[in-house]
Amino acid sequence: MTTAVTRRRASKRTRREALIGAAYIAPSFVLMFIFTVIPIFLCIYYSFTKYDMTAAPEWIGFDNYVKLAANKYLGLTLTNTLQYVLITVPLQTILALLIAAFIAGSLRNRFGSFLRSVIFIPVIASLIASAAVWNVMYEPKGGLINQFLGLFGADPINFLGKKTTAMPSVAAVAIWKNTGYYMVMYYAGIMNVPADIQEAAIVDGASPWQRFRYITLPILKPITYMVVTMGIIGSFQVFDLVYKMTGGGPARATLTVAFMIYNYAIKDKRMGYACALAVGLLIVILLIHGIQNLFFREKEDA
């Protein structure tokens, strides 16, 4: 009898606690549902429609995707975006790792922590302000970089105005801005490596490079995974820098997927078409993420 009562009381209490818990979660659920979940499904729905905001969306099946596949700039845009990703992600990851490892290993003093603070500063600057500053840095006439190159007698380079240099110049700004962020992640990870492992390796006569290669690097693998994942997702969506620095030019040399989506949706009001492109971007990101997972798992087995 008494146990049944306690159990009933306990289950009543659990139910009450569950309800209270649900109430705590509810506001986040409502906001996430309205501003994330619904838009994802709407985006997929709109991608099968023709919608210019003046009339109701009109169902056209796969027409947007067919047209997209035939879009003569799509290949170029994908190549540009991929070029940007392939410049930024490896360089910012390697730089962040090397700087973090060096400061943690050989410069663990006030100067080292000062350098860490300084390298983080670009992270807090807005991309638009950064773009404006770098536009001035890259100026062919009197920009700081060309002034510097001029000291060696080099002719001024129109960094953002030439097809070959425009995209790498934009990517350099992203690396400048992102390295500090990932450096902080790596540094925290290195600080978590138990000191006795390193000390045992030193006793065994391992060189700094061997310790980095065979101890630090494997332990940091989960962080590298995060850094690469975040880097890929972020880089594929590059917009602010392109918008402010090149506007997609010269001759579409810096036209990226996100910038193309913006143009179709906001400039041309071709909402359905832009949504199809956004869905395409999502698929590309998921595919690359899948490949990346395979790659990371394989290396784990080896």
């Binding site: 986040s28 501003f35 350098l115 920009g143 390295t179």
Partner: protein, 273 residues
């Protein structure tokens, strides 16, 4: 264990390279501030041009809408920080401390949204806000700022809140809401500071969404005003750099004072993710 303090060639070279990189990190920003104080339209700055000359700032604020943009940015940032702090600490508490059926599945669902590129959400959200007549409002800028990352961050800190403490308070007759406000929130205060800074920075620097949703100039935030300023006056470098400096100034001052908290959220994302 004695750490080797000797200056080996490797250590000297490494220090030099990292120092050089750090210099490259701040050089553009120093250049930005320097040009913002000149009134010349040339970039060949002479030291004599660099006298304290605030005319670019005065012009940007009074004539080019920077005052309004500053006000809009502050309102948006304060609103976003309050919303994100309240909603995500509540959610984290519910997820971590309450026996809600199916909560882990829901949490995984939240985390999955972090993979979705912003552009997928952007257009439908733009259309939804249009239909709800929320364009050119602060609500349009603030409401979408809640994201899975904030809830994840708060939940990681919520783990450390001892259950015994909450149970003891309950036995003492402390009500549910009072326990949350007087026990849980003070215990996760460091996390709230970290989260606030994180939200501050992402809201302050947000560009694409404010650009498309608040198209009236009196509702524009700093980066958007900054971007129109730069494109309308390509040759007046001083004024553009004054705008960039103003945009950069607030996060920078905050960073100087709350450096540790700035870095903490990011470090945590790596170690626990």
């Amino acid at each position: 264990m004695e750490r080797t303090k000797s200056w080996t060639p490797g250590r000297v070279l490494g220090t030099a390279l990292v120092t050089l990189f750090a210099l490259l990190c701040v050089l553009p920003l120093i250049y930005m501030v320097a040009i913002s104080f000149t009134d010349s339209e040339s970039l060949y700055i002479k030291l004599s041009d660099l006298r304290p000359n605030l005319s670019n700032y005065v012009y940007a604020i009074t004539k080019r809408n920077f005052g309004t943009a500053l006000k809009n940015s502050v309102i948006t940032v304060v609103g976003s920080c309050l919303l994100v702090d309240v909603v995500s600490s509540m959610a984290a508490y519910g997820f971590e401390k309450k026996p809600v059926p199916g909560k882990e599945a829901l949490f995984q669902g939240y985390l999955a949204t972090m993979m979705i590129p912003g552009q997928v959400i952007l257009i439908p959200m733009f259309l939804m806000m249009n239909r709800m007549h929320l364009t050119n409002t602060y609500a349009a800028l603030i409401l979408p700022m809640i994201g899975a990352f904030a809830i994840l961050l708060m939940r990681q800190f919520m783990v450390a809140v001892p259950n015994e403490l909450l149970e003891a308070a309950e036995i003492d007759g402390c009500g549910e809401l009072r326990r949350f406000v007087t026990i849980v929130l003070p215990l996760v205060q460091p996390a709230l500071i970290t989260l606030t800074i994180f939200t501050f920075n992402s809201t302050w620097n947000n560009f694409l969404w404010p650009l498309i949703i608040n198209t009236r100039s009196e509702m524009a935030v700093l980066p958007v005003t900054m971007s129109t300023l730069a494109s309308n006056s390509t040759t007046n470098y001083g004024m553009v750099m004054a705008g960039a400096t103003l945009t950069f100034l607030f996060p920078f001052v905050l960073y100087i004072f709350l450096q540790k908290q700035f870095v903490e959220g990011i470090a945590l994302g790596g170690v626990k993710g």
